[in-house]
Amino acid sequence: MDSGLSDRTATGRRIPLALKILIAGGFGVGKTTLVGAVSEIRPLQTEEVLTDAGVGTDDLSGVEGKRTTTVAMDFGRITINEELQVYLFGTPGQDRFWFLWDELAYGALGAVVLADTRRLADCFPSVDYFERRGIPFVVGVNCFDGAKRYSVEAVRNALDLDPAVPILLCDARSRQSGKTVLIALVEHVAQRRGDPVPAG
């Protein structure tokens, strides 16, 4: 069999289950830092065929057929065990790469939206995106050194978030803090389904 939904190969080897978590938020909010703090981070090149959106800024005269543009994003893997892996994808921050999000979001377990209280509006598009598609997400407020601290409730009000969406203060540089945010997301996914994950 060339492909299929079987989780074993022809020789009985088990195919791991790979869960995908997106790390979103505005440019410079700490997405790369967070992915690097909790996983082995590598750049992943992805690309898209240029569409009409590129016409006008990209000179296509004399070019036959399609052209592609390459985008690098952050990509990290956490190996839970031989059969279970968690992949983190830092979503491209710039608006012109929105088209990449749909593939990244396809089949995703959920998302972490990182917010910077000095530029809270930068995370609005990410919040909108996941709300519209019904993808579970948590908001991590990255507490930069020297940034004015706001309460979780102040941020919730500013974002007009559903009360069920968890908001956490975090430090994207800290492995422990990053783990806490990811655990909150997985527990939120379970709760949204109505089956809380027992502690421990």
């Binding site: 791991p16 995908k20 090149q45 690309e47 057929g65 399609k66 592609t68 839970i80």
Partner: protein, 128 residues
């Protein structure tokens, strides 16, 4: 003031200069795979080698076969080969057509994994 160049190689060919060869050169300019879908989270496994032991001529395909002796995700292949995902998909499409690899797309239930899986993830993250 003169500063020592960090890289003794040609000044124009550092990492910032980008690739010297356009990425889709290895696919002959094709941007769509000949077959298959190839989700980022799909796993690739190399099929047993043919009886005459012939290897595919392309070094990228040989590298994929070497990496896919154990199940490897499409995203991992692209990152390790330092090639765009689209290029890797075209290569995998050719290899699937030629019977060099098997593909295992993620199960449809991946987005809603059962309790045991979520519990294993939470415990695994705590143990990191």
């Amino acid at each position: 003031m003169r500063t020592d160049p960090a890289d003794p190689d040609h000044e124009w060919l550092d990492a910032d200069a980008g690739p010297v060869v356009r990425p889709y050169t290895v696919t002959g300019g094709r941007v769509e795979p000949a077959s298959g879908r190839f989700d980022l989270m799909a796993f690739v496994v190399a099929d047993p080698p043919s009886d005459d032991g012939t290897q595919p001529p392309q070094p990228e395909q040989r590298a994929i076969i070497a990496m896919a002796q154990q199940p490897v995700a499409v995203a991992d292949l692209a990152a390790d080969l330092d090639l765009p995902v689209g290029v890797v998909r075209v290569l995998l499409g050719d290899m699937l057509t030629n019977g060099l690899i098997s593909m295992y797309e993620p199960p449809a239930s991946r987005q809603f994994p059962d309790d045991d899986i979520l519990k294993a993830v939470v415990n695994g993250l705590r143990a990191l």
